[in-house]
């Protein structure tokens, strides 16, 4: 390929040119806006250089919501394309790119940052800590993820998007069958974001192990923190596998090795195995924090303590263990023999047991509870039946012999959307609504929130339930069109209608954020939901130092017992508080990583070498940097604490 041909889009269409213009105009508008309103220094000081876990959480949230809409537009395009038989809205290549980017964006660049948004914001507060263990690394994690996401997103205007599916199976993703740079984008951008995630995993494990408030034993941690701990443990063990897998893929594509090729001894099945050794635990990286969020919400709004706390902890630990033993069920039909299939079939179905325990625990928490149907609780209650459908169809797919019948059909698509949407998206929306007042100091409108919930819940079912039928009828997934004689037309049209309702639901959610930002009352207490865990024991929004005095914990629900049984929570006097300084380094180094990734994608070796050196120079600079942080004085803390009605032990 000629030098400049690599940068051109291999299959241009008017939509892509329109997107190019739109991206250009948006970037110019943002730059001009920032200059006109003189916000550059504010942006740099308060956000780009921040090391505050709460602000990093909010930035993760914004990025996740943006990516949700990008992935959502991909989804709408797919549903529109298959709405009627023999449709020509998209061509085959464009459709391949759309389903590939939809998968990658939704899993890696939407769901992952969403869980890290909530973890970042909530976990240090729930354990009564000032920040995470390594605040700067935390900022680095965010910016690496962000730059990875941006790199992935420019793929469809520079050089072409990946088109080999989000699993990017070789040899399809190899140079022979994917000649554009699309798969390079996939390999490098996920690599960069993945390094960020791995750093987060280490950071959060250390934080949760070492920085819990005095008295908070492991078995006294709130459920969300437990799930965060186990999730990050899975991250630390699974992400290095992804790192190596992507590295080997990059070696194959850029340096001509023969690891996943069909010639010279390469083994394409190795990619499938390595990918899913990471990919299956990834499912639980996404869903375990969701289980944690549901546990918090169910107990708050049933006004009861969580039923079966110990069995909940045991089940997440068992799930995390089993998650590493099931990866082969993703390719039962690729010829690995009956014995292997049987073993993986059994381990797969075994996961239903601990998951079932959790479902029953939530139901038993609600039993005899005084349930309040708030928006977070609606998502939680909605989740249970929908997720159960996803679970049951999962067991159907887990039976290797039956899987031969419906593998790679729309049945599979329906199944995993039935687990991931209630299991992750519902949970994130529930968690978002639940913790919103803690993040921003006002509540989201319950009325508009309920509209959004019903539109999303109904739209979701209308979109995905028909796929169970078309799938069992034999409609293959990833097919960009089908003929009229197949009879899939009516159900696919119904799916498209559902997708539109779903899209309207998300639009209502955005409207809710806009409406509540403008009109909601700022005069809320620090504990508007009458909740049970420590994060509600400080102000909303939370001051930079989180807690003026360290909380002392002696039960699972320390804050609840503090409120109801008058157990003292904060002891001692206010002391000066040590805080880390802001730093521009995480942002700068991540920007260099962006250029580094871009250079590798297009095999531009000189900038690749220069940026590699620059990255190590930044690390060296950081190593020599002297930075001991600063102190917030007692006077300042008292000043902040004065105008709040946060309950101190004296006036309670």
């Amino acid at each position: 390929m000629n030098y400049f041909d690599r940068f051109a889009i291999p299959h241009p269409s008017p939509a892509i040119y329109a997107a190019m213009v739109a991206i250009g105009l948006t970037v110019i508008a943002i730059l001009l806006g920032l200059t006109y309103f003189k916000k550059w220094s504010y942006l740099w000081r308060e956000w780009l250089t921040t090391v505050d876990h709460k602000k990093i959480g909010i930035m993760y949230l914004i990025a996740a919501l943006l990516m949700l809409f990008r992935g959502g537009v991909d989804a709408l395009m797919m549903r529109a394309q298959t709405a009627v038989p023999d449709n020509t809205l998209l061509d085959a290549q464009h459709y391949n790119e759309v389903f590939t980017t939809h998968g990658v964006v939704m899993i890696i660049f939407m769901a992952m940052p969403f869980i890290y948004a909530l973890m970042n914001f909530v976990v240090p507060l729930q354990i009564g800590a000032r920040d995470v263990a390594f605040p700067r690394l935390n900022a680095l994690s965010f910016w690496l993820f962000f730059m990875g996401a941006m790199l992935f997103n420019i793929s469809f205007v520079v050089g072409g998007s990946p088109d080999a599916g989000w699993t990017s199976y070789f040899p399809l993703a190899g140079n022979d069958f994917s000649q554009s740079v699309g798969t390079n984008y996939y390999l490098l951008s996920i690599q960069i974001a993945g390094i960020g995630t791995l750093i987060s995993g280490i950071n959060f494990m250390t934080t949760i192990f070492k920085m819990r408030a005095p008295g908070m034993k492991l078995m006294k941690m709130p459920m969300f923190t437990w799930t965060a701990l186990i999730t990050n443990a899975i991250v630390v063990f699974a992400f290095p596998v992804l790192t190596v897998t992507l590295l080997l893929g990059t070696m194959d594509r850029l340096f001509g090795t023969h690891i996943f090729s069909m010639t010279n001894g390469g083994m394409d099945m190795l990619w499938a195995n390595l990918f899913w050794v990471w990919g299956h635990p990834e499912v639980y990286i996404l869903v375990l924090p969701a289980f944690g969020i549901y546990s918090e919400i169910v107990s708050t709004f049933s006004r009861r303590n969580l039923y079966g706390y110990k069995s909940m902890v045991a089940s997440i630990v068992i799930i995390s263990f089993l998650s590493f033993l099931v990866w082969t069920h993703h390719f039962f039909t690729m010829g690995q023999g009956p014995l292997t299939n049987s073993i993986f079939s059994i381990t797969t179905m075994a996961i239903a047991i601990p998951t079932g325990i959790k479902i029953f625990n939530w139901l038993l928490t609600m039993r005899k509870g005084k349930i309040e149907f708030t928006v977070p609780m609606l998502y939680t209650i909605g989740f249970i039946p929908i997720f159960t459908i996803g679970g049951v169809t999962g067991v159907m797919l887990g039976m290797a012999s039956a899987d031969y019948q419906y593998h790679n059909t729309m049945f599979l698509v329906a199944h995993f959307h039935y687990t991931i949407i209630p299991g992750v998206v519902f949970a994130m929306l529930a968690g978002l609504t639940y913790w919103w007042p803690k993040m921003f100091g006002f509540m989201l409108s319950e009325k508009i929130g309920k509209w959004a919930f019903w539109l999303i819940a109904v739209g979701f079912n209308v979109t995905f339930f028909p796929m169970f039928f078309t799938g069992l009828d034999g409609q293959a997934r990833r097919m960009y069109t089908y003929s009229e004689g197949t009879g899939y037309g009516a159900l696919n049209l119904l799916s498209f209608a559902g997708a539109i309702v779903l899209a309207i639901g998300f639009a209502v959610l955005v409207y809710n954020i806009y409406y509540s930002t403008r009109y909601a009352s700022r005069n809320i207490s620090s504990d508007p939901w009458n909740a049970r865990t420590l994060e509600w024991a400080t102000h909303s929004p939370v001051p930079a130092y989180n807690f003026a005095r360290t909380p002392h914990v002696n039960s699972i629900e320390a804050f609840w017992d503090h409120k109801k049984k008058k157990q003292p929570l904060f002891k001692g006097n206010i002391e000066k508080i040590h805080m880390p300084n802001n730093s521009g380094m995480p942002f700068i180094i991540s920007c260099i990583f962006f250029v580094w990734g871009f250079s590798f994608i297009f095999s531009m070796w000189i900038p690749a070498i220069l940026t590699t050196i620059a990255i190590f120079a930044c690390m060296a600079h950081r190593s020599f940097e002297k930075d001991d942080g600063y102190y917030i004085s007692v006077k300042e803390v008292e000043e902040t604490e004065k105008d709040s009605e946060v309950l101190t032990d004296e006036n309670r």
Binding site: K210, I259, M267, S623
Partner: protein, 198 residues
């Protein structure tokens, strides 16, 4: 900053303890990284296509030299940490410097080894086996290279700032990293070279 004088320098502050635990977790991740590479290597070990096999290209002499260099360096850095705990700054710096020199020598032999492989027709692109062999060795080698710079910066910092809880903490964590590279090498030596030559 609270300082607990009953502990060695590198464990003295709260942040030091966090750094050390965090680094152990990082080593856990590194174990997974190398385990994945090894698993891939064992899968592709005999898939040599028309290229050479391990038995044909492996030479025991450079590998033994590399092993001795790296194992000795790991022992010396242990002496360095011991000197650090006794508060002997110059001895510590000397031991660290020897460690890095041994590391540099290791890297030199490894570079010789790589050129040898390319010369005997076992380059990166020859077969699945050569590809994964050079990638696995290269990943370890890249870790050693990074370690050389890292260790150098630590020596410079100890020289400038003396033995403080901060520099001691950095030096101790670096020693963990260096020992880890040694452990990985033992696996490479046993399961790539010795097994390959049998």
């Amino acid at each position: 900053m609270k300082i607990d004088n009953s502990l060695p320098l590198e464990y003295k502050t709260e942040q030091n303890k966090l750094n050390i635990l965090g680094f152990w977790i990082f080593i856990g991740a590194e174990v997974m990284l190398f385990a994945t590479l090894f698993a891939t290597y064992f899968t592709l070990e005999h898939r040599t296509a028309d290229g050479p096999t391990g038995a044909e290209i492996f030479e025991i002499t450079p590998v033994l030299i590399e092993t001795i260099l790296l194992l000795t360096s790991s022992f010396i850095i242990g002496l360095g940490v011991h000197a650090m705990r006794l508060g002997r700054k110059n001895a510590m710096m000397t031991f660290f410097a020897i460690t890095l020199l041994l590391g540099l020598a290791f890297l030199g032999v490894e570079i010789y080894e790589f050129t040898h492989y390319v010369n005997v027709g076992a380059g990166l692109q020859v077969s699945a086996f050569t590809g994964i062999l050079l990638t696995t060795l290269g990943t370890h080698g890249a870790h050693v290279t990074l370690g050389l710079f890292w260790g150098l910066f630590i020596i410079l910092q100890v020289k400038k700032q003396g033995l403080t809880p901060k520099t001691a903490n950095k030096a101790f964590i670096f020693s963990l990293y260096w020992h880890f590279l040694d452990v990985v090498w033992i696996f490479i030596f046993s399961f790539i070279y010795l097994k390959g030559m049998m």
